[in-house]
Structure formats: structure tokens, C-alpha cells
């Protein structure tokens, strides 16, 4: 049978543990982003995403799911919720100017997905660097930078 002092000791230990465990969270939430919260690299192009940031954070997977079915089955290209469009703006470049994959550690997609522990299957099939890094001569119109720019401009217009 467990005695009362043992229970009190156990509980106080728990409280201390929780308090210590919470400290980095508290500092991170207070604005010190050097600790736990993901550091999301800023977009390279444009001021405004195709939807407000809060909407994108919560619903980007729904937008992508909806548009992928329309593209694969109905051949509708160049709509604004495009994975290619995400990568065109959000992939960073290294010092030599080569694109860094968006799913590499600390990059745009991975920074949040790694933090939340949610795996991404997208890049097992899809390219993770911008289309403009590929051969420009064969670039389809709906993938080139101007198309992405048009998508973003029209999104801004709609706002």
C-alpha cells in the first residue's frame, strides 16, 4: 500500500518536472524563437500568398488535395492552389544559387512538418525544387515564373 508522504513526494516531483519541461515553451512563445518553435524561411517572391497565411497554415492540404484531382482527372492546369506554385516561391537557394529542396531539414515544408511530426509523401513523386531550375526550354507555361506571378497577382486582386 502506498503511503501519503510517498504520494505527496510523487506529485511534487511531477509538478517540478512539468514546470521545468514548460520553460522552453514559455520562452519560445514569449518571442525567443531560438528554441522549440519552427523557424520558417520567408518566401522568395511576392508579398502575399494565394490565401492569407492563417488560412494556408490550416488548410493548404485541402487546397492541394482538391486541385490535384481536378488536374489529374480533368486536365485543369494553372489554378492558384498548385504544389508547383508553392515550391516556386518557397524554395530557398544556397550560396552557390542552387535550389534547396523544400523538404530538406529546416526548409519551408519540413520546418513545420518536422515540428508537428506529420510525414509528407508529396516529394516521393513530386519535384521539390522549382521548375525554373530545370531545363527552361521545355518549361510548360503553367509552370514558369510568370504563370506563378499571374496566380499571385490575381490572388492579390481578389483580396
Amino acid at each position: 500500500m502506498i503511503k501519503a508522504p510517498a504520494i505527496i513526494g510523487l506529485l511534487s516531483g511531477l509538478v517540478v518536472n512539468v514546470a521545468i519541461g514548460m520553460t522552453p515553451w514559455a520562452t519560445a512563445l514569449a518571442g525567443d524563437n531560438s528554441t522549440l518553435l519552427p523557424v520558417i524561411p520567408p518566401a522568395l517572391e511576392g508579398e502575399q500568398c494565394v490565401e492569407p497565411t492563417e488560412v494556408m497554415r490550416r488548410d493548404h492540404m485541402r487546397f492541394l488535395l482538391h486541385q490535384r484531382d481536378e488536374t489529374v482527372h480533368s486536365g485543369i492546369r494553372g489554378a492558384k492552389h498548385s504544389l508547383v506554385g508553392c515550391i516556386a516561391c518557397h524554395a530557398q537557394s544556397d550560396a552557390a544559387g542552387a535550389a534547396i529542396p523544400v523538404n530538406a531539414e529546416g526548409q519551408f515544408c519540413e520546418s513545420c512538418h518536422g515540428f508537428a511530426g506529420v510525414s509528407m509523401d508529396c516529394f516521393e513523386c513530386h519535384a521539390s525544387v522549382p521548375a525554373r531550375q530545370q531545363a527552361l526550354g521545355t518549361l510548360p507555361r503553367w509552370m514558369s515564373s510568370p504563370a506563378v506571378a499571374v496566380a499571385h497577382t490575381s490572388a492579390r486582386g481578389a483580396d
Binding site: 490535384r68 484531382d69 481536378e70 489529374v72 482527372h73 480533368s74 486536365g75 485543369i76 492546369r77 494553372g78 489554378a79 508547383v84 515550391i87 516521393e124 513523386c125 513530386h126 519535384a127 522549382p130 521548375a131 530545370q134 521545355t138 510548360p140 507555361r141 503553367w142 509552370m143
Partner: protein
């Protein structure tokens, strides 16, 4: 007095009906089309069965030993060898036919025949294999589970399974391990609506062979429809009754 009021009301009712009729007539003349569908498609609109994409391949013009179309396909879709010829992906393969009696030989490129009644679609357990409205047979790799029933069902051996992890895929041609794939008639080019033809046909023409004529089988003015109207052509294994979109000559 009552009668005068009635006739006034009657008059205005007639007036209204006449106006409404005229408006309806104008509306019909200006905007309503019953049988006239536009041929071209906006890039933002869905594909329709107004078009059916197809090819006519002339085996006489297909040079023995030339693999330009296969190379063009590999370049366009980022298909690379993983050192095992028996499992490497292959969207087009060059096939040699030999007439047993006469001994005449011919070569031709063999790829997905884009059947109107595709056996691969019939057997797919997840609906990943499907035929697009404009006749292109595709795999939706988001729902493909890699069971490979379609590969067994295809009488043309046109499909491949990806056995290895891939990297550096082309943005316009997503491919990945564990899914089945085959010729997609360079659907990313067709969806642009800029008149670009599939990579194999383009390369064959550039090499000067002009063995592959590509176009819309439903458009009487397209080169492929014209050629098929004027010259003999055939399906491979027409006895299956699949009504293929790829036709051959001189085999």
C-alpha cells in the same frame, strides 16, 4: 367604364407578353447554342470528349535501329536506368515484327495504345487507372497501390512498375516508387493548348523520319484524321475490339 378598364389591363398584358417574347428571342439569338460546341478548350476548363487524341505510326518510315522516340520520352519524363533492364521503366519500346511466311521485317515504337475500352481500367481495384474524357489513359498515382493487375491485363505490355526510390523528377511528370506508369501522351504539353505535340513525335519529326503523326482523331481537319481517312491503317490486335487511339501503317 368597366369594359374600358378591362381593355386597358388587357392591352398592358399583351404589351408585356410582346416585350417578354422579344427579349426571349434576342436572348436565344445572342447566346444560346444547342449543337455547336467549341473545339478549343480554355486552360482552366475541364477536358471533354470533343477531342480524342491519337497517333498514326508508319512502320515504313520507322528506321531500324533508331531509338530517338524512346530517348525523347526518357528525357521528357526523367526516366533513367537503374541498371536492371528487366525492371527499368519503359514507356516506349522498339519492337521488331517478322512475317513468318514472307520473312519481311518491320520495326515500330510500341507504347500505351490509349484504348477506348482499356482492360487496365477494368481490372484496377482502386480506380487509379482511368480514361480521361479526351481519350488519354492515365494512372492517378495518388490512388495507385502498386498491385500491378493493370500490367497483367494490358495486352500490349505497355506499363511499367517503379521499383526504386527516385529523385530529381521533372516537375511536369511526377513519378515514384511503388506505382505503375505508362505513356501519358505528354499530357502536360497537351493541357497547355499551345499546339505542342508529344516528345516522341516531335523528336521523330526533328530527326527527319516523320513516322509519327499526332493529333485529334475527332477533328476532320487534323493531320492524323486526314491521313487515316485517305490511307489504310490498322490497330494492333484489332480482334480485341479495344478501339485504340494509336494506329499503325505498313506492318
Amino acid at each position: 367604364m368597366g369594359g374600358a378598364r378591362k381593355s386597358l389591363a388587357e392591352q398592358s398584358r399583351r404589351h408585356f407578353l410582346a416585350k417578354a417574347g422579344a427579349a426571349a428571342a434576342v436572348g436565344l439569338a445572342a447566346g444560346v447554342r444547342f449543337m455547336d460546341f467549341p473545339k478549343a478548350r480554355a486552360a482552366t476548363g475541364a477536358v471533354t470528349d470533343n477531342q480524342r487524341w491519337g497517333m498514326l505510326i508508319d512502320a515504313n518510315k520507322c528506321a531500324d535501329g533508331c531509338t530517338a522516340c524512346v530517348q525523347a520520352c526518357n528525357d521528357e519524363h526523367g526516366i533513367q536506368s537503374h541498371g536492371n533492364a528487366s525492371t527499368d521503366a519503359q514507356w516506349i519500346r522498339k519492337v521488331r515484327l517478322r512475317d513468318k511466311a514472307g520473312g519481311r521485317e518491320s520495326t515500330l515504337p510500341l507504347m500505351c495504345q490509349h484504348c477506348e475500352e482499356p482492360p487496365c481500367v477494368d481490372v484496377c481495384p482502386t480506380g487509379a487507372s482511368f480514361r480521361r474524357a479526351d481519350g488519354i489513359v492515365l494512372v492517378d498515382k495518388h490512388s495507385c497501390i502498386g498491385c500491378r493487375y493493370c500490367m497483367l491485363a494490358c495486352p500490349y505490355k505497355a506499363r511499367s512498375f517503379v521499383h526504386e526510390n527516385l529523385s530529381d523528377q521533372k516537375p511536369w511528370s511526377p513519378r515514384g516508387k511503388g506505382t505503375v506508369e505508362s505513356c501519358n501522351l505528354c499530357v502536360h504539353r497537351l493541357d497547355e493548348n499551345r499546339g505542342r505535340i508529344p516528345a516522341c513525335a516531335e523528336r521523330c519529326e526533328r530527326e527527319g523520319h516523320r513516322a509519327i503523326v499526332f493529333g485529334d482523331l475527332n477533328d476532320p481537319a487534323s493531320p492524323v484524321a486526314k491521313a487515316m481517312r485517305e490511307q489504310q491503317s490498322e490497330e494492333l490486335r484489332a480482334d480485341f475490339g479495344l478501339n485504340t487511339g494509336i494506329r499503325y501503317q505498313n506492318i
